[in-house]
Subunit: 340 residues, 2 copies
């Protein structure tokens, strides 16, 4: 484990993306989002995901030169085609446009079809909240989780994001529909540990907290059993209907890695035109204060609101450098044409 | 257990509501929603909830004469005040207005503050889908569930609804943020059974599937542990911010039963102006077919999409009458001034 300064990490990732064919400005933007993700502790979609993105570009699954474009406009709702450009750039463009539509109409939405992996979904929630807006975003994905009562993965884990701006720290939820990510299963298995709670079924249909047999069966558990399963189904259907794009059953037929060809929704609302920033802060402070002031349960030290861990990690890692796995860092340095 | 014809049930409930002071038309509308809920198998918020509503009216917690009114308009987003009128009437007015705004702008939203219990949240999803629109609705509530890692209930269970129209049967999700409703705990306890999965903590902080100790501690489990907790926090914050209304911490101070003074969000999108009804059906058919065609897990007979059970129950109970608990039916007959 080494700690790398924020600016250094961003610079190196940008070089790697530049060598993969992105323009200097696009490479900087994507590198910033990856670096911010690692900085906030979302390592899986930060530095650790750079090599896979570069691989997808090499395979022709992401078109670094493609630009997203509006294909339909209905006053407050626009449909865009992502043209399989870099998911981060498409998602930022969609979030910015949804915020413009919200500034004009109170609420605004961009439904983006035919895009690619947006990396960390929370990035677009934080992006909107930093600009004073409320955001709801989600994406569908290829199948990676069985529906409730089913044996075979036919649902995406369909990450879902909600964000509210707050001077004292935005309140941001970023969750996938599976109880655990496959990355969490892998990390837990490598440590020889069990999951805190059952995370899926083994190949014989036994619910288990041992990660290996779940990775093998691909029978990962939807959060809240039937609830996460149902929520994933609705997120998928809405994403495809509203973007005139593809649902999970159709993304599965593309077979070009994770999320290639997926559909995404970006909804923004403008609280400046509602109660204003001071009112929004009062509501957020009330909710956050009430929750964090709860007496902790046995064994718990404190009660947190969504986004609070990210804010703490960010503060620490901006001051002290971002923790990296040495092997991953060496790999990204090599992609940037540098030697470790 | 007796079976009561749909029309008879609606008529009797309407009489009960009329005697509680509602106009004939309002009583009919509310009675229809309660009857439809029972008919779809959502008994808790159908016939079984009539007496409690009448009680709330008697206490002055619901104003049967109040009408909801718009207080702010931002093109595609309107803020309404529910004036503590009947939650069903307020929610129907909000859904209808959100759909009008969606027809004009692609997407429309009504944020309703100061309203009362909307009964079955799914009602508004089905209502919109019946009219060809996509809907996302949610409400906040008084505290009934601890945040993740906390001992004391400070979160609402904040029901959340998503609906997509489909000629072959709408796809409709209607879920609260707790893994189980208190009603489910009670029913399971009365049968002397265990919950299918752990549903909360006893007073000493042990996770348990025995309902009694959870009812006693009020430490009901959020669905997906930290995920349902975080989702509940965001639904609450957004509902209050966008309606310029109250969040759970403030609703708790009102102390006038369930949901009095709560904040609700109604978002509609118009797929007729996107891919059109045939495209929307194709997407829904694709998703539903993929999911329901999954090989069932060990012990499961079939795999269902959200809304499918309700459609089956509705068909059966419209044909054969709606199953009622005889005691509850007698109570509602008495409220209607009839003898059993």
């Amino acid at each position: 484990m080494t700690r790398i300064p924020f600016n250094t990490m961003q610079e190196v990732i940008a070089e790697a993306f530049g060598r993969a064919g992105m323009s200097a400005q696009d490479a900087q933007t994507c590198a910033r989002i990856h670096t911010e993700s690692s900085c906030d502790g979302v390592y899986s979609h930060g530095l650790n995901r750079v090599a896979r993105f570069v691989d997808y570009v090499g395979r022709g699954w992401v078109d670094t030169g493609a630009k997203p474009e509006p294909v339909k406009s209905l006053a407050a709702l626009e449909v865009w085609d992502g043209n399989r450009g870099p998911g981060i750039l498409n998602a930022l463009a969609a979030t910015d446009r949804a915020m413009e539509l919200a500034a004009q109409n109170g609420i605004g939405m961009v439904a983006m079809r035919n895009t690619t992996h947006w990396m960390r979904g929370g990035a677009y929630g934080w992006h909107a909240a930093d600009r004073g807006q409320v955001a709801i975003c989600w994406t569908n994905t290829e199948s990676c989780m069985p529906a409730w009562g089913a044996k075979e993965p036919r649902l995406g884990n369909n990450p879902f994001v909600m964000a509210v701006p707050r001077a004292g720290g935005h309140i941001v939820l970023d969750m996938a529909m599976s109880q655990y990510a496959y990355g969490k299963l892998q990390v837990t298995r490598l440590k020889g540990e069990k999951l805190p709670f059952p995370g899926g079924y083994d190949k014989d249909g036994n619910l288990t907290d041992i990660p290996g047999p779940i990775e093998e069966s691909m029978r990962i558990l939807p959060m809240g059993y039937w609830k996460g399963s149902g929520f994933a189904i609705l997120l998928d259907t809405l994403a495809a209907v509203l973007s005139e794009g593809l649902a999970t059953d159709q993304i599965d037929r593309i077979g070009e890695g994770s999320c290639t060809g997926c559909s995404q929704i970006f909804i923004a609302m403008d609280p400046a035109q509602l109660g204003g920033a001071a009112f929004t802060d009062r509501v957020g402070d009330g909710v956050a204060g009430y929750v964090t002031g709860s007496p902790p349960a046995e064994g718990a030290r404190e009660v947190l609101y969504p986004g609070q861990i990210e804010i703490r990690m960010r503060k620490d890692q901006i001051e002290n450098g971002i923790v990296v796995d040495d092997g991953v860092w060496a790999e990204v340095l090599a992609l940037a044409g540098r030697t470790a």
